[in-house]
């Protein structure tokens, strides 16, 4: 497996904000790599730097183990924030300009434009000016444009932003189709379910700091959790913290959430507290959702 993108010690300061503080990432080829984080966590800044439109304050990146050369970006298809096209040109003419910028083989351009417009379902609107497109159509054209040069890597920033549910489903299916062809895809999103549905790897960013990077299945392991309550919550906490059955304890108001291993059941928990001299007033099993985990991680 070769490395598609390697980021080393990347930092970016704007006038008053440190948007990115020391980011190190490696994206292997063939993965669908998600960058997850709330708004303002540095996702777009990261992509902006590796796509050559922002100058980093420190650090470096390398595409295809070939450094920071401008040429590298011709092998990448990217959609960053908004779709950017000439409003007074139609879909085909806009894509022709992109093909020229990408330096595509002239004899293949027209056929390829037809192909991608069909993929994103815009062929029937090929002669319409960009300014007459709806938001969803603009977004689809941008994805078509990103696919134009048959790129080795696809970089998508909030690709389903502003789309209706049908549009979102279409884009996700498209991403999965492309991933199935063995292409590497890098997606930034603040929507957990988006990352969860399409990605193989995930990097979680918070305020410019990488919080966690892992395979998505590692993150997706749903933890078993027991919610308990007792009259003496302080005692409860100290017992929980010293117990070998409990891997993590978190108190929220009058309830303690105990993370336990899969084989531990409610009876074992009850017995353990009783033997330690505490009577539980409440005990229920719950499964921790991914969203809870995400909020906990970035919390």
């Amino acid at each position: 497996m070769s490395t598609v993108l390697e980021i080393k010690g990347l930092k970016k300061n704007y006038k008053t904000v440190k948007a990115l503080k020391d980011l190190n990432v490696k994206v292997e080829s063939g993965t669908v790599f998600g960058i997850l984080g709330p708004n303002g966590s540095g996702k777009t800044t990261t992509l902006g730097i590796v796509l050559g439109i922002l100058n980093p304050t420190a650090g470096s990146y390398s595409w295809f183990e070939n450094g920071q050369k401008d040429e590298n970006r011709k092998r990448i298809g990217a959609l960053l924030e908004t779709p950017n096209f000439f409003p007074y040109l139609d879909a085909v003419k806009n894509l022709r300009i992109v093909a020229q910028v990408k330096g595509m083989d002239k004899t293949k351009v027209e056929a390829r434009i037809e192909e991608v417009l069909k993929i994103v379902n815009l062929w029937s609107r090929k002669d319409n000016k960009f300014k007459a497109f709806s938001l969803g159509m603009k977004q689809r054209l941008a994805i078509g444009s990103a696919l134009l040069n048959d790129p080795e890597v696809l970089v998508l920033d909030e690709p389903t932003n502003g789309l209706d549910p049908q549009g979102i489903a279409e884009i996700r299916r498209l991403i999965k189709d492309i991933a199935a062809k063995g292409k590497t895809i890098i997606i930034a999103s603040h929507q957990l379910d988006e990352i969860e549905k399409v990605c193989t790897d995930v990097l979680i960013l918070k305020e410019g700091v990488p919080i966690r990077q892992s395979k998505i299945d590692e993150l997706m392991v749903v933890k078993k959790e027991v919610a308990v309550s007792a009259d003496d919550m302080i005692k409860l906490q100290s017992i929980a913290e010293s117990s070998s059955l409990i891997t993590a304890c978190r108190i929220k108001e009058n309830l303690a959430f105990l993370e336990v291993n899969e084989e531990v059941n409610a009876a074992a928990i009850n017995k353990m507290f009783f033997e330690a001299g505490l009577v539980l007033t409440e005990l229920r099993l719950s499964k921790k959702s991914l969203e809870d985990q995400f909020l906990e991680i970035i919390g």
Partner: protein, 268 residues
Amino acid sequence: MIDLLKIEYAKVKNYSTFWVILAIYAVLVPLTYLGSSQLHLPFYPTADELFSFPTIWGFLTWTASLWNVLLGVLIVMSICNDISFKTQRQSIIDGQSRKQYILGKFYFFVVFAIIVTLYTFLMGLIIGGINSGFSDAASGIEYVGFYLIQTIGYFALAFFFAVLIRKSALTIVLFSVIIVFDIFLSPIFGLFMGDYYGEMLSQFIPTLTISHLTPFPFFQEMISYGKQMNPNQPEVYEMNEYLRLAVASMYVLAMVFVGYLSLKRRDL
């Protein structure tokens, strides 16, 4: 180079505003020239002279240069559109280097200036040829060359302001104001350093170096006439035409280079 030019051409090819302004320019130049032939000013040539070689070269290029601000606006638009549509940003994302972007604009405005100059040249050749035959056609033809460098100079200025300011309305206003304000520079400098040195300094100000490339054609006549009337008239500094050509070309290159440095350092 050809590839970069093709990209720029594709951007303006279907942009109607571009062609409308160009058409206005193409109509205004001959109309203004026709109208100026009916001016009865002292020193001003008669209609016959205006429409004949060699007078036509100096006067036609000067008249045409009065409308160059219009064409400068086209250059401003070609850059500021890329910025407001974010297509400049997208081109970089798609793999263009910032240097290629700047070179594309540079090639575009140089070729555009050549086309505009060709238009003026053909107009002069046809009008002059009809009225006076071609025997004197080569005399004073250097003005066409000056006009070309001047047009490139105006475009470089427009390019420079557009790349630095990035907002089309503000750029167009500033570009126009500076060009109009030019005529007051020399008197203002004169106030502080005397007429001779004030004029000398002002002629090295880029906008004036460029606009003086096609000077008010009977400027020299006025000065020599003034001298005849009053031998004690102080000397007026007038930069040598070829020195001016060299200085103007240098300014063009400097503006393109500074424009590149500015874009290179900027976050898009």
